[in-house]
Symmetry: D2
Subunit: 150 residues, 4 copies
């Protein structure tokens, strides 16, 4: 298996272990070096008080997409951790599904900086509803296992 | 009913309408003027790839707690919207439950600035696992209904 | 004077009143609807401890460029205020000058969301050294005068 | 010299090398393990368009204070870098001087998370005008020299 194929396999296997993504009904719909897309369909379980998607859903898939965009660029003996992110919620997330598209804008050895845009899809039309700016950390010799302390 | 009691009733009623909070199993465990606490118990459905709470869970309850802390200070004919927030994930969220405690640090007429700390509780001991800084908007004459455009 | 020309005049006049931008030696080098560019040349007065541009210089011109990109879209009886921003410093700011390029990504009535990229120019080559995500507020009936409270 | 005294000497020496802090007229007025305070007096050179302190001044001293609060906890063969920060500007910065007070809220080996509050002092009374949340990185074997790439 090529190095790139191995990295993709590792990303998809990690995503599959996230119980929270399953609980959201989220699917990884695209993946490439430094890029990742995650979608989640609308259900009543995803809503805030007005019946739109809760900001927490947009944030969660933007975060996971950013983390995996970054992880796709890391050597195989590294694990991935989100250090922090900022999200701006720019329009109500109204529609049949949400799509988060993340990409790495700066790939340092230890830190990867990512942006993600989240779109609400309504009758096939995409509307930007959130945008994020994130800092992702590569942890050496961790095999996708967490750090006791960063 | 006093004005404060009316505001509390309105906050709790709004929280109850959030399908996403129910889907997380989240409870509002404290509420006061400019303050709000939300908790969520551990389940496999809440996890990231290492079995800890997913950052999206911490972010979601920090966001809702911040929004309701701000909402508790708004006149009755106002609705609440999260404009943006930043979250730093400072330690693995390992434990039986998460607690988000939010408070308003600056209460302007249109914008409220909030901070929230999220703690993981393990064998009764609280560990700070995330901290947020948020901007919340008061929308006049909205009755907790969303804006088509901000 | 056309409405657009009046808005441009107003932006440039406001920028000229910023003593801090003069103190930095900053120039507004481009301006259009929803877009603004500000540059600052290198001097010893701009440095951090390693002799590079201080992050504070990058942040200041990114903030001003974002504010004026937003202001360029506001009606004439409005004033502009930065509510908040986040900046990621992605590479050392080494070079003869810094260029901040800001654009509005979402233009609501009350809030404008902007991004800015800051480039260090060294021997004619631009390197991304910082990126920001900002929330800018339009204040009605303020004539570019500050609010006692937001 | 004790280890703590050596760390303090190193912080003050690094601060003294920041040409930009001198250009602002900034002074480090307090320093302890994980804590730092920086002040800057009012001058016309510090202003935005309404004659108040420019947000860039508040951000710059909050950033430097956060960086040095973090640096005060690092071993002697480490250098300090600001990865990113978010700032909320919560009130006009009107007064005779600004004071930034920073403290480390989480001290990991590689990353330190800091908050800073910035106060405007008017006739002896302090008003909170900005608050920040920052991520600071410790670079090993760098002797306060910058990284070509993080």
């Amino acid at each position: 298996m090529s190095d790139e194929a191995e990295r993709e396999r590792r990303v998809r296997e990690s995503f599959a272990r996230q119980g929270f993504m399953r609980h959201l009904g989220a699917k990884m719909t695209a993946l490439g070096p430094g890029q990742c897309e995650i979608q989640v369909p609308y259900r009543e379980e995803m809503t805030q008080q007005h019946g739109y998607f809760h900001a927490g859903v947009a944030a969660a898939i933007a975060d996971s997409a950013s983390g995996y965009a970054a992880y796709s660029l890391m050597p195989v003996n590294y694990s991935v951790l989100t250090v922090e992110y900022k999200i701006n919620l720019v329009a109500p997330a109204a529609g049949e599904r949400l799509i988060a598209r993340a990409r790495v804008v700066r790939s340092g050895k230890t830190l990867k900086i990512c942006t993600a845009d989240v779109f609400a899809v309504k009758e096939g039309k995409e509307t930007l509803c959130a945008t994020t700016l994130s800092t992702i950390m590569a942890m050496q010799d961790r095999s996708d296992r967490p750090a006791a302390s960063r």
